[in-house]
Point group: C2
Chain length 348, copies 2
């Protein structure tokens, strides 16, 4: 059975993960690799039953340690690889415990570059137990070309002056703030960690070019008129490598509102030193122009700014000044949450 | 051996086809399916040794009929499927002659939806003879993320008010016109028929989203300072399904010049009836805005208009009026060629 056939049997329209999770940290001893696992524990503690590490590993993401046998007892459905080793390949000495989990009928969930379905031991064990091998980087099959048809419900999309400026975090904080205001809202994941947190989604950057806007349509399907999908952005229209992903995601999302995400001190596109970060005005104007194709009424709901590199006593003033200058709510979701932006969305 | 491994062994950076071709028309009896074969004969007769049809087939693209044995004698290197049967699958009764060609060491070149490498008879025969199975829709492996780095040489990209408005034809006509002016110019193919004509290229719409601009960079590599790459466009920034492809292709192409391609009578996006064709002004402005990211000096070289649906006695006036209104050369490449646009490019 080829990878593709296996996927066809095991995946629906979007990638779907079953909770609760056992988060696997391998034998990693560098705290900086724990971001994914910690993100899952922070944003969806209800989906997490425990963690596991191998001898030599030191990460502790603050949930109970479980063996595979204990995980089975607790009803664990997914063994989630919570860290990315250097090079993105799974080390061979991790295989035995992964096989043990597969044999116990637990799905394996991985965002590694190397595919679970390329490892014969895993495929064989899965064919016996019925557990799924879910490579989050591999998009589901059967994604259509975007239809462009208007659908019910409302959508807000995170867009950025660059990649890696806090779009996922902003979307999660905004979803929390909207829910806090009593608004029905769902976080929609477009990248690996987001998918693990949400339990479903599509890694849109791995979708074939012709189908990006179609993938975005699947991600935020028709919904109640007063429901908001809060869509994790990807890339940036100003990134010479990844702008295509951003545009397809935007067109398929048909956003009613955009949140501009930015890192306060950034001047150059990360990894493309010849490219400057656009001004916030240019960023807003270009994003609005391109988004109007599929939603002529799109507007900017606010700016979500990562101010972590500003001096602590300057952040408040920076955000206040920016808010006045732009006439829009501006907040740092790590500090203030996203209440002001949520309130601006409520009024749309 | 999986498809991917096979591709890794058989393809380089761009898809490369060896000439001369034997163009295969199967048992098709509907003239409207002969466009690809005719395009190849029209635009690159030097690459074509002959054609082949099966009993029941009636297509004649005006080159000698050859059997596989005769093709071998003539030094044919590629057996090119020149037609697309309904549904895009290869009929089983075509298999024997394809296997015969493979066994004779001739590469098979296909743009069908079904993959050559999924047909075990073909894979087995190819493993014996060393012939390549080239699925043009499958992009080569190892395409990098776009670097955005400026490279030498000049580039002109076809962009459109919609898909299917004549971008390939415009690029071919412009390449011919530039060459006629003594300018070094190369047609760069981004779609199936274009790749068969050029003998190389990448089907950019089949590339994974993250790598579209990188694919475009491979397609038009660094060149002599006075050399022009004439790049076949794909999609349109105004098409809600395919705009992402267009943007990635644009960013990777770093065009010095754009040619706006349009069908004179079109009012709605083909296949998306709720979407209007943009005005030519809006089309130019949006394309320039987005292209400036990777080439701030980009300009519009002219408009290439398909006037075939206008009354014959109105076409000249239409083009003259448009040219005056826009202050740019406007021509129909089917009627006038692309000399005026080529002259405008010479002056850049």
């Amino acid at each position: 059975m080829s990878d593709w056939e296996l996927l066809e049997l095991t995946q629906q329209e979007t990638t779907q993960l079953d909770a609760p999770y056992l988060i696997f940290n391998g034998d990693i001893d560098d705290e900086s690799f724990s971001k994914t696992g910690r993100g899952i524990v922070d944003w969806c503690p209800d989906r997490v039953a425990g963690q596991m590490r191998l001898p030599g590993g030191t990460l502790d993401i603050g949930v109970p340690y479980l063996s595979v046998a204990e995980a089975v007892e607790k009803g664990v459905r997914s063994f989630v690889i919570g860290i990315t080793p250097i090079g993105g390949q799974m080390p061979v000495h991790w295989y035995p415990v992964v096989v043990e989990a597969i044999e116990a009928g637990i799905d394996i969930v991985s965002g590694l570059h190397s595919r679970l379905t390329d490892i014969p031991e895993f495929v064989e064990a899965a064919s016996r137990s019925g557990a799924r091998l879910i490579d989050i980087r591999v998009p589901p099959r059967g994604i259509p070309v975007g239809s462009g048809e208007k659908r019910s419900g409302k959508r807000v999309l995170m867009v950025g002056t660059d990649c890696a400026v806090g779009k996922k975090y902003s979307a999660l904080a905004l979803t929390r703030a909207l829910t806090g205001l009593g608004i029905n809202a769902t976080f929609r994941a477009t990248g690996q960690t987001g998918i693990m947190i949400a339990g479903n989604g599509i890694a849109v950057d791995a979708v074939v070019a012709d189908f990006i806007s179609g993938a975005a349509e699947l991600l935020s399907p028709a919904n109640d008129d007063d429901h908001w999908d809060v869509i994790e952005g990807q890339g940036s229209l100003f990134n010479p490598g990844y702008a295509a992903v951003s545009l397809g995601l935007m067109h398929g999302s048909q956003p009613d509102a955009l949140v501009i995400c930015h890192e306060a001190t950034l001047t150059q596109i990360l990894g493309w030193p010849e490219y400057s970060i656009p001004s916030l005005d240019e960023c807003m104007e270009t994003n609005l122009r391109m988004a109007r194709l599929t939603n002529p009424d799109v507007r900017i709901a606010g700016l979500s700014i990562n101010t972590s590199k500003l001096a602590e006593n300057k952040r408040g003033q920076y955000l206040d000044d920016l808010s006045k200058e732009m006439g829009l709510p501006c907040s740092d979701p790590m500090i203030d949450g996203a209440l002001a932006i949520a309130e601006s969305i409520r009024d749309i």
